[in-house]
């Protein structure tokens, strides 16, 4: 997990560099660029906000687009609330690290302790790499194009491996299938950011009465 997590963090670092470059190119100062990564710490929202502003968009449209992308972290918070225990201060800190990668990495672990460790380790490593990458990009002003090395595919590839162990459960399989399907249908029909939110509706399969006895039948 440590090796895989560090690899993923390096990919995140490269994206951080490209965010730093893009943000400064779009007119943000170096300090603002670094503040975005330190404070907002949600890659997709940050990219969206600076590109809207860079293209001459209004405050409102930059904010709306970015928050729509950030909303899915609320769904992750609901999921992580079952796993992160401890004092309020711990949870307030955990909240800042509640993003795609930490939720997925944690979900891929089997026991509660490993889930917590995966969450914190991934969160802290990503936070460090994302911010170092941002600073480097903002100051140095040139980036490797992440698509050259297929780094953009590193994320969905990692997510596949993380979700895989969950799929041994029949309900989780249904939720996964339905979530993927909802997303696919919603992509061309709704604004960027909305498909992932809608996919969370797939958890309603949890309302079904269990059909199979606990001794899981294989389908």
């Amino acid at each position: 997990m440590v090796v895989a997590c560090t690899t993923l963090s390096m990919a995140v670092g490269v994206f951080g560099v490209s965010f730093g470059v893009g943000s400064v190119a779009a007119g943000a100062s170096i300090a603002q660029t670094c503040a975005l990564s330190l404070l907002v710490f949600t890659g997709a929202s940050q990219f969206s906000a600076v590109s809207v502003i860079g293209a001459g968009g209004s405050f409102g449209s930059a904010l709306g687009g970015a928050l729509l992308l950030a909303a899915r972290n609320g769904v992750y918070g609901l999921a992580m609330s079952r796993r992160i225990e401890g004092r309020l201060a711990t949870r307030l800190l955990a909240a800042q690290l509640t993003i795609d990668e930490t939720t997925a990495m944690s979900a891929g672990q089997s026991d509660p302790r490993a889930q917590r460790i995966a969450f914190w380790f991934t969160g802290v490593t990503l936070y460090v790499f994302w911010n170092l990458g941002t600073l480097l990009g903002a100051v140095a002003g040139s980036a490797i194009d992440p698509t050259t090395y297929g780094l953009d595919a590193a994320f969905p590839a990692g997510f596949v491996a993380m979700v895989w162990p969950l799929l041994s459960d029949r309900r989780a399989r249904r939720a996964a299938f339905l979530g993927g399907l909802i997303c696919l249908i919603a992509i061309p029909l709704t604004a960027v950011g909305v498909p992932i939110l809608l996919s969370a509706l797939a958890v309603l399969v949890g309302l079904q009465k269990p059909v199979s006895p606990p001794s899981e039948r294989t389908t």
């Binding site: 895989a4 690899t7 007119g27 603002q32 503040a35 975005l36 404070l39 907002v40 949600t42 906000a49 930059a62 904010l63 970015a66 928050l67 909303a71 899915r72 972290n73 609320g74 769904v75 992750y76 918070g77 999921a79 992580m80 609330s81 079952r82 992160i84 307030l92 909240a95 800042q96 993003i99 979900a107 698509t147 050259t148 297929g150 953009d152 595919a153 590193a154 994320f155 969905p156 590839a157 997510f159 596949v160 491996a161 993380m162 895989w164 969950l166 309900r171 989780a172 939720a175 996964a176 299938f177 979530g179 993927g180 696919l184 992509i187 061309p188 992932i196 958890v203 949890g206 309302l207």
Partner: protein, 100 residues
């Protein structure tokens, strides 16, 4: 970019992240709600795979990433370690892009 926007974005993004964690954290919920919450990662992470593989903004696309993720899925199915799955997915995508 203005500092106001930076701070409002921070407040908004953090508000989303913290709400679920703090409102539900440590509380016991009706079993049926728990049963739904526990399915969030399966549903949403699968959706992330779909989005990151087949979309470019609002367009559905089929490109090099699909090949990379197909190989990554095969590797995950064969229970390859996470690192192998990630590297294979990225490498195959890069390779197909080079050829394409």
């Amino acid at each position: 970019m203005t500092w106001t926007l930076v701070l409002v974005l921070f407040a908004g993004a953090y508000a989303f992240k913290v709400t679920g964690l703090v409102l539900l954290g440590g509380r016991s919920l009706p079993p049926v709600v728990d049963q739904c919450l526990v399915l969030i990662p399966a549903a949403v992470v699968t959706a992330l795979v779909v989005k990151d593989t087949f979309s470019q903004g609002q367009d559905l696309v089929l490109d090099a990433r699909a090949a990379g993720i197909a190989v990554a899925t095969l590797a995950a199915w064969r229970r390859a370690p996470l690192i192998v799955v990630i590297v294979l997915g990225a490498a195959v995508t890069a390779l197909v892009r080079q050829i394409g």
